[in-house]
């Protein structure tokens, strides 16, 4: 079967025990998390066990695929399947963020003005929240002032710096890609290291910002719809940056080990796409959450 590289031949991977281990791991995590939320402390232990199983699945499954890929048994068709898979996965992520951006949009354009008595909200305001003035973001913790008085996060401090950082990291990862395609391995590795460093810098600044919000601005997850949308959007984004940085680290280690060729490097490209996606989501956040 050494001639499996040509287009007329198909490749089908052999069976794998990783999917079922993944199901067991994630289900254990969910059961643990749910019992914990229901107030049983032991749930945390179950959650941890599930996380360990899930992580071992991720390592095992990707390890298998990387080994198979490096041994050269994947043909172009497999490569294209992976590409489609990644493209549509990123699309699903876009839609996930879309739900939260939609919530932000709805709150700002509709629900806040209605609570302030606009349009059909006249009676609601008169009977339920007399005197409430809807102003975004000043009173966006709602008529009951949930979470108490708070100050909003200024766009032109850390967030603006973070925008710069993430945009430059998009450039460095592209520079690394050029290095890979031109077979300049040093440029590839340096580009990746720079990208990861910028990513880590971004995450630490974001953490500083959260500390600042909680301790000095009294801006918390519980600060009404403003706090809800602010922390859920930036939080999920931060999680994705963290994940992307971990993925980039794996790619860096693989590059150091001599993986990838100028022609075949789907793993690198998938992570680069993911990184650009995270970048674009941040631009949306910067404009709609921080700036406007």
């Amino acid at each position: 079967m050494a001639h499996a590289q040509s287009q007329e031949h198909y490749y089908i991977p052999h069976g794998s025990h990783w999917p079922i281990i993944g199901s067991i791991g994630v289900a254990t995590m969910m059961v643990g998390g749910a019992t914990w939320l229901n107030g049983a402390e032991q749930g945390r232990i179950v959650l941890m066990i599930g996380a360990i199983i899930t992580l071992s699945m991720v390592f095992g499954w990707f390890g298998t695929v990387i080994r198979e890929s490096e041994s050269g048994i994947y043909n172009d068709q497999v490569d294209r399947s992976f590409r489609w898979g990644m493209v549509w996965f990123i699309f699903s992520e876009v839609m996930f963020f879309g739900a939260f951006f939609g919530a932000l949009y709805y709150a700002r354009i509709w629900s806040m003005p209605w609570l302030g008595g606009e349009g059909a909200g006249v009676a609601t305001q008169f009977f339920l929240w007399p005197g409430f003035e809807a102003m975004w973001p000043q009173t966006a913790n709602g008529p009951a002032q949930i979470g108490g008085e708070f100050k909003v996060m200024e766009a032109w401090g850390i967030p603006a710096i973070n925008t710069l950082i993430l945009l430059s990291s998009g450039a460095t990862v592209t520079w690394a890609h050029w290095g890979l395609k031109a077979n300049k391995r040093a440029q590839l590795i340096l580009g990746l290291i720079l990208t990861i460093a910028l990513g880590v810098l971004f995450i630490s600044l974001q953490a500083t910002e959260y500390v600042h919000a909680y301790h000095e601005l009294n801006l918390t997850l519980e600060s009404g719809i403003y706090g809800s949308t602010f922390f859920m959007l930036t939080g999920f984004h931060g999680l994705h940056v963290t994940l992307g940085a971990i993925m980039l680290t794996v790619i860096l280690l693989r590059s150091i080990l001599g993986h990838f060729t100028p022609e075949h490097h789907f793993g690198f490209e998938a992570v680069a796409w993911y990184w650009h996606f995270v970048d674009v989501v941040w631009l949306g956040l910067f404009i709609f959450v921080y700036w406007l």
Binding site: L37, Y106, I146
Partner: protein
């Protein structure tokens, strides 16, 4: 010699037991698993429906307490939607798409395995809520805030099981799209693909677009309940209606996820038994695509009575009515395909014809519900229940059954018992109408849904409905018997099975080899 590259050398023989079913990367095995899961959940969800119908046999409260009654309506819907119809059609997609496009298997076989093996865990989690403090979720499958936030210990399990099912659907849909876009045999251009493949391509797109939105919606519920966010809390500047918008942005495309693959099935069966090619192939493709597009801009027709600006009501009313145009094109094309065909009426064809008639009834009642002033009367009555059961039971479920009868000889290599098949068809069709048709009347007369008691004047119709429901449920045991009998033996099926059948899957022997097309067939 086989041209499928394997790193270990098994070709036509396959591994056994755990290795085969748990670790499988084979599209047929995974399709089989999906179909069996779907059948199992069909009976679980069916028992829940029968509990509901038993309580509604007479007015007054007699068998179950109201909380449990609401748990049953909620769980029945979740099980039937996520556990029966969706896995059923994914099972068909797995079995058929590689054979129809001339591929050896799906594009991402290991991910395919995971998409399936998530589901038993997700449903174990969901069904376990029946035994929890506070009972299973009872706020309706639509999970409207703030009511659903009153769910007891079941709440986080409900949310996580929906996340998990969503993950399964997204992975499955990614795989189906990658397969269709990347694994077609040379010459199989997009506009030569069988309509079943087309409808699944569009369905998979819808799945990837809206399942993450549902995940987002239930995540917001979770943080509202446990982490103090205010998405659906007006006191904090949010809005309970926001949940309905996010949910139905998922929910309306979801109903097309449940019905588009049925259109594909019917478009495969009708030409075979009319012995004519499908009338208006290209218009079918465009109609499917238009339905998918429109499905994103009609969601608020589920919320007309919740309070919305007039412009919103008008927009969503007209956009909804517009869907009748591409759907009408489809029904017209099926009828035109049968026109002057040399028709025969084997069981799959019977189910297909019943689908066309009864689904159209469901479509018309949908059109009635789309009219805002009329909807103000129908909202939350049994008329709505009648409507969506007509599109889902003699719609989606009939299409699944038609598909099983149609392709079972291909899958097993045996013909099913035609006499029993016809018995199953007639019993099912009579009982399904007995169950759901009177719901139109009691609904128009004002009987509300999701209430375990009702006014005396609705008694006779409710009794008829309950009798119909039990008849329908029992008839399905016959279906299981026929399927098992066909798997175990029976008259040998030829490769083509039906003399009017066209398409690549009928060029393979029955049953087909373990890897469908090991070398790409030539498509002219």
């Amino acid at each position: 010699m086989s041209a499928v590259a394997h790193d270990d050398a098994h070709h036509e023989q396959h591994p056994y037991w755990i290795k085969r079913w748990l670790f499988t990367t084979n599209h047929k095995d995974i399709g089989t698993l999906y179909l069996w899961l779907s059948l199992l959940m069909f009976f679980i969800g069916g028992i829940m429906a029968l509990i509901v119908r038993t309580e509604l046999f007479q007015p007054g409260l007699q068998f179950v307490d109201p909380q449990f009654f609401l748990s049953m309506t909620t769980m029945h819907a979740l099980v039937m939607i996520f556990g029966v119809i969706m896995p059923g059609f994914v099972g068909l997609a797995n079995w058929l798409i590689p054979m129809m496009i001339g591929a050896p298997d799906m594009a991402l076989p290991r991910m395919n395995n995971w998409s399936f093996w998530i589901l038993p865990f997700a449903f174990a989690m969901l069904l376990s809520t029946l035994f929890m403090d506070g009972g299973a979720p009872a706020a309706g499958w639509t999970m409207y805030a703030p009511l659903v936030l009153q769910t007891g210990a079941a709440f986080p399990f409900l949310v996580f099981s929906i996340h998990f099912m969503g993950l399964s659907s997204i992975l499955g849909a990614i795989n189906i799209i990658a397969t269709i876009l990347n694994m077609r045999a040379p010459g199989m251009t997009l506009m030569k693909m069988p309509l079943f493949v087309w409808t699944w391509l569009i369905t998979a797109y819808l799945l990837i677009a809206v399942m993450p939105v549902l995940a987002g919606a239930v995540t917001m519920l979770l943080t509202d309940k446990y982490f103090g966010t205010s998405f659906f809390n007006a006191a904090g500047g949010g809005d309970p209606v926001l949940f309905q918008h996010v949910f139905w942005f998922f929910g309306h495309p979801e109903v097309y996820i449940l019905i588009l693959p049925s259109f594909g099935v019917i478009s495969s069966i009708v030409p075979t038994f009319a012995r004519k090619p499908l009338f208006g192939y290209a218009s079918m493709v465009y109609a499917t695509a238009s339905i998918a597009f429109l499905s994103f801009i009609v969601w608020s027709h589920h919320m007309f009575t919740v309070g919305m600006p007039l412009a919103g009501l008008l927009f969503f009313m007209f956009a909804t009515m517009l869907i009748a145009v591409p759907t009408g094109v489809k029904v017209f094309n099926w009828v035109a395909t049968m026109w002057r065909g040399s028709l025969t009426f084997e069981t799959p064809m019977l189910f297909a014809i019943a689908f066309i008639v009864l689904f159209t009834i469901g479509g018309f009642s949908g059109l009635m519900l789309a009219i805002v002033p009329a909807d103000f009367q129908y909202q939350d009555t049994y008329f709505v229940v009648a409507h969506f059961h007509y599109v889902l039971v003699p719609g989606s479920i009939f299409a699944l059954m038609a598909a099983v009868y149609y392709w079972l000889p291909k899958w097993t290599g045996h013909m099913y018992n035609e006499r029993l098949g016809k018995w199953h068809f007639w019993l099912t069709t009579i009982f399904v109408n007995l169950t759901f048709f009177p719901m139109h009347f009691v609904g128009l007369a004002g009987m509300p849904r999701r209430i375990p008691d009702y006014a005396l004047q609705f008694t006779e119709y409710n009794m008829i409905e309950t009798i119909g429901a039990f008849g329908f449920g029992l008839s399905q045991l016959l279906f299981v018997y026929i399927v098992v009998q066909t798997i175990r033996g029976g008259e040998k099926a030829t490769a083509q099975v039906w003399d009017g059948a066209r398409g690549l899957e009928w060029t393979l022997p029955s049953p087909p080899p373990y890897h469908s097309f090991t070398t790409a067939p030539e498509v002219k």
